[in-house]
């Protein structure tokens, strides 16, 4: 180890690979902010920890409730943030979550063509493909073609709606509840709800035959 951060008590631990330009910049800005007393290293660590704790399991819990409780689904569609809070999940202050529902007639898929806006408070970090120029540029132009590459072929009578989240809204797709799930518990249902189905590039899983 021969990096120069060992002399700087404010710098966070550095990664094991050679640092990229952006990492060096973030590192420098963070060290300055800490040095000037604007933030503390512990606050940064806590924010990272908080972000790492978010995962699609949170979103799946919300969707499973919406599947079993129509009144909750209505509240989720009307005001997602307060409905989600009912389950003890705080999605944070930064963005407004908006829920949209996939049905037999309408299919929503979400993209951020400008960058990588994503309901992180509910799904955690976005997958790499979501941030790729390939997905971002193509899904708005040929959504059915892109969805087909994901293994999802939609019949022509289903209206495809691509949501380009260019602003303060973060869209959460409520996938359609699969057939054959009538007797399942909320927890079992949550196991069928995948990250990709909440972005809208896949359907929820169908239950294994018993």
């Amino acid at each position: 180890m021969h990096d120069d951060h060992h002399d700087n008590p404010h710098a966070p631990p550095t990664p094991d690979h050679p640092m990229t330009e952006f990492e060096r910049r973030v590192d420098a800005v963070q060290a300055l902010l800490i040095e000037k007393g604007l933030i503390t290293a512990d606050e940064v660590r806590r924010a990272v920890e908080e972000m790492d704790y978010r995962s699609p399991a949170l979103g799946a819990k919300v969707i499973a409730r919406a599947w079993v409780d129509p009144a909750f689904k209505s509240r989720l569609l009307a005001n997602a943030k307060s409905a989600i809070l009912e389950l003890g999940i705080d999605v944070g202050e930064l963005a407004t979550i908006v829920a949209v529902e996939n049905t037999e007639k309408v299919h929503h898929a979400v993209v951020c063509t400008l960058c990588s806006c994503y309901p992180r408070g509910l799904l955690g970090y976005p997958p790499d493909w979501y941030k790729s120029l390939n997905y971002r540029s193509r899904v708005v132009v040929d959504p059915r073609g892109v969805l087909k590459e994901f293994g999802l072929q939609l019949p022509p009578n289903v209206e495809v709606r691509v949501l380009d989240s260019t602003a303060d809204m973060r869209y959460l797709v409520i996938p359609a509840r699969p057939a054959g799930t009538d007797g399942m518990s909320e927890e079992e249902l949550a196991g069928l709800i995948t990250r990709d189905s909440m972005i809208g590039v896949a359907q929820a899983r169908t239950p294994a035959k018993r």
Partner: protein
């Protein structure tokens, strides 16, 4: 600030690329759509991105566009839609 448009109104997206940070994609500029829903007012990102206070807040709309209008060679069924969040100062009546 009260909203200039209501759900169902036909709107055209302004054309322009002023210097700085924009949240209105180039591909939708000049296109005509209809207001799907009103999101409320939010701080203007064009100001926020450059250290400004984002005020006055701007009304934010979800606007829907018919895919074949946006992409004349759209390969799917003509009823497919593209929905985009657009701030009020980028919209004009159509």
């Amino acid at each position: 600030m009260s909203a200039r448009f209501k759900a169902g109104d036909r709107v055209r997206v302004r054309v322009g690329s002023p210097p700085g940070h924009l949240r209105t994609p180039l591909y939708i500029q000049g296109k005509i759509g209809s207001v799907e829903r009103l999101h409320g007012d939010y701080r203007n990102p064009e100001s926020l991105a450059h250290g400004g206070d984002g005020l006055p807040k701007q009304q934010l709309y979800l606007v829907r566009f018919a895919q074949p209008h946006v992409w004349p060679k759209y390969p799917g069924p003509p009823r497919d839609q593209l929905l985009i969040d657009i701030y009020e100062h980028w919209l004009e009546p159509a």
